[in-house]
Symmetry: C2
Subunit: 249 residues, 2 copies
């Protein structure tokens, strides 16, 4: 059974202020939690329903376990339909990325992505295409927001996320910089090479002018129909597909 103070801690972690204060974030559902267990993340406590118990016999981390009822899980879950477990996970220190971390691969640079669902979907898509580094401007939504974590479907456990001032980061990276803009070159005629930064902009405003100036090649997904724009997670996926998807053929 959950104590009052545990319920208070778990519900407080829905909010950024308390995630920062406690240095913890929430992961829901044993399937996603298991991806964090098998990663460099450190699980603080795993609260699980009885159903999950048989899966906990061979854990790769020593973890504080606490069995709780589904009724208790419902009290602390942020989901409409709570799954089978919820875990508190320690927020890691972001490591700076060196040139060696970035060379011979594609990395994503996100300028002001606000929507948690978009951010989570971008992380999941990056993981599919083998993109392991995502650099976020300081005004991007926090990746430990429960809605982001949920939308990554466990992929957050495998992706290096760095919040940084993008101007300095891009200037120091010394790599080709592709940016998704409205008047760039057709992505289907673009040779993305084998290493680059791929810059995607805010849902409404796109890439900031000062970041646009650092783009070495502007690219565009040609519009055939009449939609005014593409969702940013969709546009990111199409560009990752053209750049990273094909480079490993």
């Amino acid at each position: 059974m959950l104590s009052k103070s545990q319920i208070s801690l778990l519900t407080s972690l829905q909010h950024k202020k308390f995630r920062r204060e406690h240095g913890l974030f929430l992961v829901e559902g044993y399937k996603s939690i298991s991806e964090f267990i098998d990663s460099h993340y450190h699980i603080h406590t795993l609260y699980h329903t009885p159903d999950v118990a048989p899966k906990l016999l061979k854990l790769s981390q020593k973890i504080n376990l606490q069995e709780i009822s589904l009724a208790d899980l419902q009290k602390v879950s942020g989901l409409k339909t709570p799954a089978d477990a919820i875990a508190t996970v320690k927020i890691p220190q972001f490591k700076a990325l060196t040139h060696t971390d970035l060379e011979n691969k594609f990395s994503l640079v996100l300028d002001g992505i606000q929507d948690p669902g978009n951010m989570g979907t971008i992380i999941r898509t990056a993981d599919w295409f083998g993109i392991t580094n995502i650099i976020c401007s300081d005004d991007c939504v926090e990746v430990y927001n429960p809605k982001v974590v949920q939308a990554t479907m466990g992929s957050l456990a495998r992706i290096n996320v760095l919040y940084a001032g993008l101007s300095d980061f891009i200037s120091n990276a010394n790599l080709p910089v592709y940016g998704a803009l409205l008047n760039g070159d057709n992505i289907y005629n673009t040779n993305f090479g084998m290493e680059a930064l791929l810059v995607m902009g805010n849902e409404g405003n796109g890439i900031r002018p000062e970041i646009q100036q650092l783009i070495t090649k502007a690219v565009t997904i040609p519009r055939i129909g009449q939609a005014e724009s593409l969702n940013v997670a969709i546009a990111t996926a199409i560009i990752c597909s053209e750049a990273a998807g094909k480079s490993y053929k």
Copy 2:
């Protein structure tokens, strides 16, 4: 000012049962509403805040207009942050699609897409790539669900959506049938030609076995990293990009 019966009607349209009963659905935000005004859809009533009034001088449809306060809009909006207008729009009769409607182009076939956000994003993406026909299995989420309408960003106004038994539809279409499966051919080595049905399956279960049997070519987005799967709207976008995006180069 909104009457009690108007408030009751507008709030009831959040629910499928009442959308069917009244033959109406909701569109929020003047930008999206204007896409429906400029389409074959018939607007029943447009409720707008004073801000929108100047935009209403040159309308392409004769429309019942009613000016309301932002406070009234908040009472009937399904959005956390209501925009500037809400409209009731007549649900049209779905027209059957003939072979002529389908030839020389790509059409999407959706088997059991459940999530409103995914459905809306797929419709918006289809509109970007010039795909005008979407055929949905009867158990797909209803496209007049307010969350679907919202996620289409107005693109629903331009797309023909048909709900149909997919087995019969696909069998009668007499077109190549590409389906997104886990063990298909690499999409990057696939020549999609100039006309086909592109079949996408349910978020958790994929394409039903009886529909899989009708696929003439299974295709797969190669996985380079470790994500277990892609979001279905993302996978649809990547396949639309490969098929429709490139065919118009």
